[in-house]
C-alpha cells in the first residue's frame, strides 16, 4: 500500500480536517495512520496541542486500540482470522504455515464476518475466503 511520507505540515493538514469533530482523538490517530501508514512519534504531542488534550490521554488512546501502529507497516499486510469459526476449519494450522513463510507481515485478526467460508484472511485490504497458504501468497504484491 502507498502512504505519504510524514512531515509536520502534512500531519497538521490532516488534523485541520477534523477541527469541527466532537471527540476527535481516535479519529485523528486513525486519519494520520491512513495518511502515513502508522502513527509517528511526534503525533501524540501534535494531537494533544491541536485539540487541547493531555499527551497522556492521546497516548492512552493510541495504546488501547489494536489497529493503531507506531512503526511503519510492512509492504504487505496479512491478517489472518484466528477466532473460533475459523479455528473450526483449521486456522490454527494455517496460521503456523503463514507465519513461518511471511513472518512479521502476518497479524492475528479477530473476525472479518466471513465465518461460513473460513479460514478468512485479509491481504492488503482484500478479503480471502477458504484461505490457503497458496491463495494468500498469490494475493501478496
Amino acid at each position: 500500500m502507498k502512504y505519504s511520507t510524514w512531515s509536520l505540515d502534512a500531519a497538521l493538514a490532516v488534523l485541520a480536517t477534523l477541527r469541527e469533530e466532537k471527540g476527535p482523538v481516535l479519529m485523528a490517530l486513525q486519519a494520520l495512520q491512513r495518511e502515513f501508514g502508522y502513527v509517528h512519534k511526534e503525533d501524540v504531542t501534535l494531537i494533544a496541542n491541536f485539540f487541547n488534550k493531555s499527551r497522556a490521554e492521546v497516548h492512552g488512546v493510541l495504546t488501547f486500540y489494536h489497529d493503531l501502529l507506531t512503526q511503519p507497516p510492512t509492504d504487505n499486510q496479512i491478517s489472518l482470522c484466528v477466532a473460533e469459526a475459523c479455528q473450526a476449519v483449521g486456522s490454527r494450522e494455517l496460521e503456523k504455515e503463514v507465519k513461518a513463510k511471511f513472518g512479521d507481515e502476518v497479524h492475528d485478526g479477530y473476525c472479518y464476518g466471513n465465518c461460513a467460508l473460513g479460514p478468512c484472511a485479509m491481504v492488503n485490504g482484500a478479503i480471502i475466503g477458504r484461505a490457503t497458504l497458496d491463495s494468500i501468497a498469490k494475493a501478496r504484491s
Binding site: G23, L29, A88, C115, A116, L117, G129
Partner: protein
C-alpha cells in the same frame, strides 16, 4: 438483461469480483447488478439472471465456468452443471421466513428506487404521520428485543429516551459485530443498507433525536464503503438532512469506524470510543438512555434491531409478534458458521431447534466428520454437544439449557475439536481484549489461561479444576460488563459438557 453477481464481501472473498468482471467483458449488453448475498454462502459466488419465469441461479460460479455458462445460454436461464433452478424455489431459501432480511440479496443495495419497489420507506412514511407515543407503542407491542445479544425490549429503551428532556439526543447503532460466527450485521449493511437507515430514522423521530451515529468495525471495510455511499444517497434524496422526506423532522447520520477492539462492542465502551477515548466500560447507572453519548440521552441498538423496525412499522406489531414463542417474538437471523457444509443466513421465527438449523439447514460438517460441539452466541456463548440439539433457539430456552442465544451465531466444530483448547482460547481472548477496568476480568483471564494450561499438562487436575470454577465465579460476579462476566460461560460449559477433555490426559491431543 439483468445479471446479479453479489457484491457481498463473503462472495467477493471467493471470487465474485472476478466473476463479475469476466461476465462484463464477455456478455454484451449485460446490466450487472452487485446485489447482496441471498445468504446461501456455500453457493457463492451465486450468479442470478432475470428471466420471465423469475430469477434463475447458478453457483458456485468461478471465472473458469463463464465460457461454458455462455455456451449453455445462461443469460436466458439455460441448463448448466451449475444450474440451481429458480432462486425462489430453492428449498433452503423458500422455507425461511425472511422479515429483517427480506430484501437482502434481492435488490440493488444502493438504489432507493429498488428499495421502495420492495416495500422500503413504507414504515418511515407511516411513522412521520404518527406521534412519538404511538410509534413507541407499536414497537413495544411488537415485542422486538435487542438483537445484539442481551434481548432487552427495544420499545422500553426508546420510551426512556423519549421521556428524557435534553437539547440533544442521539441514536447510536452498534455495528461492532465482533463475535466470531456472526455476520448478519455485515450482510445487512452490505446488502440492504437503507433498511438500517430507515430504522434509525424512525427511532430518531420516535425519541426526538436529530443525530445518528453508526459505529462500524474497521474489520468490515466493504460494509463501510457501502454504508457511506448509502448515507450520501439518502442525503441527496432528501431523506436525511434538515427535513426528513419533506417533514418537520431533521436527522443526520454519520459513520464512526472502530479500531480493532472487541470490547468496544459493549455499549458503554462503544460510547467512549465514539467520544474518541479508550474503550473503557462505564458503570451503569447512569443508563445510556439518560446519560449516553457526550452525556446526552442515547438510544443504543444493534443493526438487526434497528433494521427490523421498518418491517414492524410497515406491517404492524401484530404481524410481527405472530411469529416466535413465549417472550421471544418475531424472527431471529441465525448465522451458521465454522465447520459447516451449508453455512449462511437462516432467518426463522424463534423456537426452531438447534438440530433443525445445524443439521437441517446446515447439512452437518464441511469436513464430513461428526459434529462434536457447537458454540452459540459468539465467543462468550456456551459450547453444547449434540445431546442438546433438541433445545429451542429462543432467549429463555437457551438460558435454561445453560447457554445464551446472543446475536444468533452458531459455530460448528467437528470431532477433531479439543474443548480444553477452546476454553483456553476464551480466557486468552479475554486477556487480550479486556478493557482493564475490572480486576476479575483483567487479571482473572490471565490466571485462567495459566490454570487451564496446568489442567492440560495434568498438574493437580482436580484441584485446578476447582480453582478454575472458583475463578469463573469471581469473574462472573465481579465484572461490570459481559466481557468478564460471560467469558466463564464458554469455559464452564466446555468443562461441564465435555469433561473428558479436562482430564489432563494427553491422549486426545
Amino acid at each position: 438483461m439483468k445479471i446479479f453477481v453479489p457484491g457481498d464481501s463473503a462472495a467477493i472473498s471467493v471470487g465474485a469480483d472476478e466473476v463479475a468482471a469476466a461476465i462484463a467483458s464477455k456478455v454484451k449488453n449485460a446490466t450487472i447488478i452487485r446485489n447482496g448475498s441471498r445468504g446461501a454462502l456455500w453457493l457463492e459466488p451465486m450468479v442470478e439472471v432475470e428471466t420471465d419465469k423469475g430469477r434463475v441461479a447458478y453457483g458456485p460460479v468461478s471465472v473458469a465456468d463463464i465460457d461454458s455458462l455462455i455456451a449453455a445460454d445462461f443469460i436466458n436461464g439455460g441448463q448448466h452443471a451449475l444450474s440451481l433452478g429458480l432462486t425462489d424455489a430453492l428449498d433452503w431459501l423458500a422455507s425461511q421466513d425472511r422479515v429483517t432480511f427480506k430484501r437482502v440479496g434481492i435488490i440493488d443495495p444502493l438504489s432507493i428506487a429498488d428499495y421502495e419497489l420492495h416495500g422500503g420507506l413504507v414504515g418511515l412514511r407511516r411513522a412521520i404521520t404518527m406521534n412519538s407515543g404511538a410509534i413507541i407503542e407499536e414497537v413495544t407491542d411488537s415485542g422486538v428485543r435487542g438483537r445484539g445479544g442481551a434481548g432487552f425490549p427495544a420499545g422500553i429503551k426508546w420510551k426512556t429516551v423519549a421521556g428524557a428532556s435534553s437539547d440533544q439526543k442521539y441514536i447510536c447503532c452498534n455495528a461492532d459485530e465482533g463475535d466470531s460466527g456472526t455476520f448478519a450485521d455485515r450482510m445487512l449493511i452490505e446488502g440492504d443498507p437503507f433498511t438500517l437507515i430507515e430504522g434509525m430514522t424512525i427511532a430518531a423521530i420516535a425519541v426526538g433525536a436529530t443525530q445518528g451515529i453508526i459505529y462500524l468495525r474497521s474489520e468490515y471495510p466493504y460494509a463501510i464503503k457501502t454504508l457511506q455511499k448509502a448515507i450520501d444517497i439518502a442525503h441527496a434524496f432528501g431523506w436525511l438532512g434538515s427535513s426528513v422526506l419533506g417533514s418537520a423532522f431533521a436527522f443526520d447520520l454519520k459513520v464512526r469506524v472502530g479500531a480493532g477492539s472487541y470490547v468496544c462492542g459493549e455499549e458503554t465502551a462503544m460510547l467512549e470510543s465514539i467520544e474518541g477515548k479508550r474503550g473503557v466500560v462505564r458503570a451503569k447507572p447512569p443508563l445510556p438512555a439518560l446519560e449516553g453519548l457526550f452525556g446526552k440521552p442515547t438510544v443504543i441498538n444493534n443493526v438487526l434491531t434497528l433494521s427490523t423496525i421498518p418491517a414492524v412499522m410497515a406491517d404492524g406489531a401484530s404481524a410481527y409478534k405472530a411469529r416466535g414463542v413465549g417472550r421471544s417474538l418475531g424472527t431471529q437471523v441465525f448465522q451458521l458458521a465454522g465447520n459447516i457444509k451449508r453455512g449462511g443466513i437462516v432467518e426463522k421465527p424463534f423456537g426452531i431447534s438447534i438440530e433443525e438449523v445445524v443439521n437441517g439447514y446446515g447439512g452437518g460438517t464441511l469436513s464430513g466428520a461428526p459434529i462434536r460441539a457447537v458454540q452459540i452466541g459468539g465467543p462468550l456463548g456456551a459450547y453444547f454437544g449434540t445431546e442438546k440439539f433438541a433445545t429451542s433457539l429462543d432467549y429463555e430456552s437457551m438460558l435454561a439449557a445453560g447457554g445464551m442465544l446472543g446475536h444468533g451465531g452458531i459455530v460448528v466444530f467437528d470431532s477433531s475439536v479439543d474443548l480444553a483448547a477452546q476454553a483456553r482460547f476464551a480466557m486468552s481472548f479475554c486477556a487480550l481484549e479486556s478493557c482493564g477496568k475490572c480486576t476479575p476480568c483483567r487479571v482473572g483471564s490471565t490466571r485462567g489461561v495459566e490454570t487451564i494450561d496446568l489442567i492440560i499438562q495434568g498438574v493437580k487436575v482436580d484441584e485446578n479444576k476447582k480453582l478454575l470454577l472458583d475463578l469463573c465465579e469471581v469473574m462472573s460476579d465481579g465484572s461490570l460488563c459481559a466481557m468478564g462476566a460471560l467469558t466463564p460461560m464458554p469455559v464452564k460449559s466446555a468443562m461441564i459438557n465435555f469433561p473428558e477433555d479436562f482430564t489432563g490426559e494427553v491422549s486426545r491431543r
